[in-house]
Symmetry: C2
Amino acid sequence: MELKLVREALKKGRAEKLKEDLEYVRFKNSHKGIERGTALVRDQVVWGYPHIKRIFTLEKGLSRNIPPCVMYAEEKIDGFNVRIANIKGKTYGFSRGGFLDSFVTEKSRELVPGEFFKEYPGNVLCGEMIGNTPYTSPADDFDVKLYIFDIDEGDGSYIGCDERYRILKEYGMESPPVLGKYNSDDYDELRRLARSINKGKKEGMVLKSIDRRHIVKYVTPSSDIEDISEASGQFFDISKGFFHQRILRSAFFVDDFGLDRDKYALQLGKAFHKGLTNSIRKAKKGGEIAEEFEILVKDTGIWDDIEKHMSKDIGLQVLWKRREKNRTRIRFQKVYRKTSRKLVSYAGGKAVTD
Amino acid sequence: MELKLVREALKKGRAEKLKEDLEYVRFKNSHKGIERGTALVRDQVVWGYPHIKRIFTLEKGLSRNIPPCVMYAEEKIDGFNVRIANIKGKTYGFSRGGFLDSFVTEKSRELVPGEFFKEYPGNVLCGEMIGNTPYTSPADDFDVKLYIFDIDEGDGSYIGCDERYRILKEYGMESPPVLGKYNSDDYDELRRLARSINKGKKEGMVLKSIDRRHIVKYVTPSSDIEDISEASGQFFDISKGFFHQRILRSAFFVDDFGLDRDKYALQLGKAFHKGLTNSIRKAKKGGEIAEEFEILVKDTGIWDDIEKHMSKDIGLQVLWKRREKNRTRIRFQKVYRKTSRKLVSYAGGKAVTD
């Protein structure tokens, strides 16, 4: 990366210098083709992971965005988006926003075999973490899972699909489940696939040309509605656009696939009312609206790091800590302050001007 | 009004000078206690109509906002909010935003008997117009109806309820339907009333202390959901907050009154999906998303005035004009440009970054 560009970004406030376990520059915003979330440690660049474009309708969306080719459909995983890099011989994890993340760092040192970075020192693993992370629902039957959906070659371009599957297999890492290999214009098969992942309540799919140069995502109404259901209880701490987009997409899919309209309408309405009603009832009793998370860590200093990076709109409260062998399990809750405040005041009779 | 305040508001861009049929100053924003929408014609002030506060839950909302008193419940009418004033012996109409409105002016000269302003020259009628107006659904069985929900005494304070009913009756004008007279703490009766207006698919109620000093509004989930249903087809031309608020309110009411949750969830989901699906289907055929309106006017120059004041995001197209006795009936449509553009592009396969 040109030093001039970095200086310019720093000057314009699009990048910032941070000093944590490493000294690095983080791109807070995109700048002249450099993706937001890019981190620069000395002269090593961990490129920001670009947002994958989404299509609203399968057939037209594919024909317009993916040239005729063979492509893989991978399951879209909704987790904690991370990048894992080897810096001066050590493994480090970064969040989507480009922060060095001590939680991801600790987990990736366990989950990524050291041999991988010996063989591919300049590459960056792009993955999704689920389970007991500070951002995803706690899991009972495992701690953390890491799905590597891309391997950055070190220059912001990605390794082809087959090669990635081979590498991941070799080092015992997981790719998001591969749903199949398709011709990008085999709409009949792809429609069958879309219906089946919707029925299976899966989040959606990411479609990647085999050479990994073309990529789009497509989600199901089940997952859109499920997202709304999980978020509606935190009504004022979620962006209005979050709900808006999912309502729209679910309508597109239901129409495209001729699904049972009443069934999805009922689910959609319930998704809003159920979460809201639960929160309204809590608010009526004066209670706070919160959600629980859990992490299991060796380095308890990670907790301070989480507190530091969590948005100020969210209150963090440790529920309990427990030693487990050489680790500490921390159960905590995020208190959705804005939702709590608004619902308590509305439930208490506050009148408001629109 | 102090001249100093007006000068200051003009200087700060909170007010503007306009020269149409009258020369006047319009308050674009509120300024030091002067409500947005206030119009000043020479030294005569047409005070802006303040937004009435809304409660989310009946009992607590009343006990917190209305001191123990006798109050009237009036039906909340969802129409075109107007103010009608007598200026130098002539009747003029203003829109909520404080624009002199030639459509309202023409209609109010027919609907408000001249005798009224002879007796009350300095008063301002605050009303809601429905029917064949540029902002409300066309009516078959009447042209325009005007409900006077308040009479401004000329100083921004309002005439008491009984006196208003008497005056309106005397001059043959209509109040919004009076749903009843209640003690503000007679929650049993008020709950019965709320249930009954919800069943009757009415918009809601405005509760006014008999002296008109205290006022709140309360709407029903039926009307919230009906609003969503009417607006969801114009998904991107409606503010996200419009949908957000109505989802929330419907959940509050359904919970407060122990209504059938599945029934309202289904209605809510349908309200979104039906309007959206209709618009998506139009978009798939490349069609524009539009809604029809109709007006019947003597002065055809009113059309130019409507075009001038309509938001730039909305395209106006005359569908037909027809002479009727000494008037012209104009059928026109509003094209929701943003919704049309977005839905056509998504339906055509455009991929977008969130």
